[in-house]
Symmetry: C2
Subunit: 149 residues, 2 copies
């Protein structure tokens, strides 16, 4: 399960293993998210298991809602053994606040939209459709037939 093989790969191979685009590796390198890799005789980038791990982390962190900028900072923080644990935790907590706000925003959207959809029979022409009325700017109030003719 751990690193037993020599594991040295070129761009496309690592990209496939890590589940990212091959060009993205160059981009991440440019942005300082991964180390400049060693090169072989021909100048090809040679990656190893450490790079794979780092990329896997990058993907996990992206899935957790971190931006690449955040991830870069996180990698710097956690790369420095002197970083106090609190710094890292505060970072994660701040991100959590953002994620929770997004969730509640989306839940509000979901509620509004699903109510509109539920109110709409889906049959008949546009007149009286609750969604269209909401759009038309007349508040969702059902009995207001202000469709222009």
């Amino acid at each position: 399960m751990k690193d037993t093989a020599p594991s040295s790969w070129t761009r496309a191979t690592l990209a496939k293993l890590a589940g990212v685009g091959a060009e993205s590796l160059r981009f991440y390198e440019q942005q300082g998210l991964i180390e400049k890799p060693a090169r072989n005789e021909a100048g090809y980038r040679i990656y190893d298991g450490g790079d794979l791990e780092r990329l896997q982390f990058i993907r996990r962190a992206q899935d957790l809602g971190f931006s690449l900028q955040d991830i870069k900072q996180l990698l710097q923080l956690t790369g420095n053994i002197k970083t106090p644990r609190k710094t890292v935790r505060d970072f994660a907590e701040a991100r959590l606040v953002v994620i929770r706000r997004k969730i509640s925003d989306l839940q509000a959207m979901e509620k509004s939209l699903s109510r509109l959809v539920a109110q709409c029979s889906g049959k008949g022409a546009l007149r009286g459709c609750p969604i269209a009325e909401f759009i038309g700017g007349q508040n969702i109030k059902p009995q207001r037939e202000t469709c222009h003719e």
Copy 2:
């Protein structure tokens, strides 16, 4: 309810009323989201209550998670009295699916991150910090890694 006034405004005034940037009005016009407004003698754009309503809709729809492209389509659909109600409802339903998936993705993130934060005392140096370990690629809990969908 005072929609009896002539209510004619220039850019900045309408922008303020609608809660959007003044330049955005030009952008929306360019993108076909609002009608080309009338002009006065000097060539100034003159907006009315209808424009305000449309802008307010645009903002509401954005809050519901629609992109400007979506909104443009919606406005076209609902501007056409012949549009079947079903078309509009299907549109809203498709958006609802997207919103619901986002919610559950974010909830998964929230769960992972809050578990990490809860496990981290916030005291001491970095060694042994669950967040840092997660980052470092040692999976903190090999059991339920990235349950994603």
